[in-house]
Symmetry: C2
């Protein structure tokens, strides 16, 4: 691995420049003011690129109903990434017991019960229940900016336990949904290349769990349902996915019962950009001080 793709040095330099604020847990660092400014500007650019489509804006908290995760079959495929939220629902005496365990450095979590919520594993999930019944003529387009949780602790600054995705979610006829996905893949490539990043697109699969997951992934690749835009950040050999473009076919419409205006089964697709990853890709490509970035890049972000 060349010095240019040294995780440890990249982390150290990000901290030294005040871009990230270290935490005692992998994948849970804080963001400094300059990092956050870049991230917001990347998001602003995405919103400007999509403005003509007039997406409907929704905002959801980082949690969502446990029943929704169960209904979507997420736990069949990604139990290792899920975040289930548990809280204390006991009596005064049980609370004293819990407190004593914490203070004796014993594991105390056995005294908790599951709440009715989990962490959102994808920013788009809470959107689909809002599509029900007949879609309007031409379908629907929604955008969300949300915090997403994936339990995959890592030293790589691009692999976070909790990060932000800007997503666009399209529902409508199969043809128009697929065309929208393909069009956004092209627009995404142009956008990232226009920011001076060596971006390319590729077929991709979701990180399905375990041995059966390998078959699921092969099937997904075979059906060309998921594409990613990749940029070298940590490694030139293994570039980092900064965007994903997913055609769900009838996966969500069959679960939430939304149909096209002519009663035909609706399709859906989503496209999302990992905002922390896009920010880190820009920093890696152009340096730790955005004031010194190429004028052509700055002109698009600092408008």
């Amino acid at each position: 691995m060349s010095a240019a793709y040294d995780v440890e040095n990249f982390n150290r330099d990000l901290v030294r420049h005040g871009l990230i604020i270290p935490s005692s847990v992998k994948g849970a660092y804080g963001r400094g003011a300059v990092f956050e400014d870049i991230l917001r500007r990347v998001d602003g650019l995405l919103m400007r690129v999509s403005a003509a489509e007039q997406p409907q804006e929704m905002t959801f908290p980082p949690i969502l109903p446990r029943a929704l995760i169960e209904k979507l079959g997420y736990l069949d495929n990604f139990p290792h990434l899920a975040g289930s939220i548990h809280s204390f629902m006991g009596s005064d005496s049980r609370a004293r017991e819990l407190s004593a365990m914490v203070n004796a450095a014993e594991r105390w979590e056995t005294l908790l019960d599951p709440t009715e919520v989990m962490l959102a594993p994808a920013a788009c999930y809470p959107v689909y229940p809002n599509f029900s019944g007949l879609l309007p003529q031409g379908g629907r387009l929604v955008t969300v900016l949300g915090w997403v949780f994936r339990h995959e602790p890592s030293d790589e600054p691009t692999r976070l336990l909790s990060f932000r995705m800007r997503e666009f979610i399209r529902a409508g006829r199969a043809q128009e949904v697929k065309a929208w996905r393909d069009d956004w893949l092209e627009r995404g490539l142009q956008l990232f290349r226009g920011l001076g990043l060596a971006a390319h697109s590729d077929l991709a699969a979701d990180p399905f769990f375990g041995r059966p997951g390998k078959m699921m992934a092969a099937q997904q690749l075979d059906q060309r349902l998921k594409f990613e835009i990749l940029v070298p950040v940590i490694s030139a050999q293994q570039p980092t996915a900064v965007g994903s473009f997913n055609w769900h076919q009838e996966h969500f419409s069959s679960k939430f019962g939304f149909r096209n205006a002519d009663e035909s089964p609706a399709h859906s697709a989503c496209m999302g950009v990992g905002l922390e990853r896009a920010t880190l890709a820009l920093i890696k490509a152009h340096g730790f001080d955005p004031g010194q970035w190429p004028g052509s890049v700055r002109a698009q972000l600092w408008t």
Copy 2:
């Protein structure tokens, strides 16, 4: 209860005007574009009011290290509000078992293990570990905007499982920290009254758990450590806290070992505004369409 303070109708009207997006779980609704616009503008106003103080901006994810919550003693006092994050860390065969339990509508969470993170119960918590050793002359001032989790399911739209706080955190000498807290309480009152809200301030206590918690609360009131700004939203008799102003004395400095430049024990204070609550207070006071709000209110937010 008069019609003006009818929770059910207020919820229904918020949904009807597209301000909130209902969810199947109490306290986990989505926010529509107009709601979000108001919220961002309230935050923008707070940032303008504080600009002269030049707070250092930090951003943290909605999760934080489990060890930090344990160290802060949060579980001694607020176990009922905590959110502990659990994930699956087992084998292929355990994953099949989990999947079968989910699909049989059995409780499957017993197959999970606690992760190294919990949900942030306060936006300021991840800030304090960054204060260590000697503070600079004049102390420090940090601001964060963060998602906060409190497990208190409720039908009241002002009581959410997950919501945003804009917080300012001050560390320094006892006198300057207390004066800063008192000054912000006054500024906060002026700010909310200037937005046409019937705001007043009052001594307050944190919602400590159980019977021993009553004593803790009495002690906190006695020491005048916590003040709130309250505005009628759901009830004229029981106004809603939209801001809190907390003098921690040496609570955090003793845990994280930060001292003043002259080696004396540092104090800290924080002040926070619940952004969803401030937004709902404005909607309740001025109506569901911000386009129709009084010119004096609009002038401050839509600058």
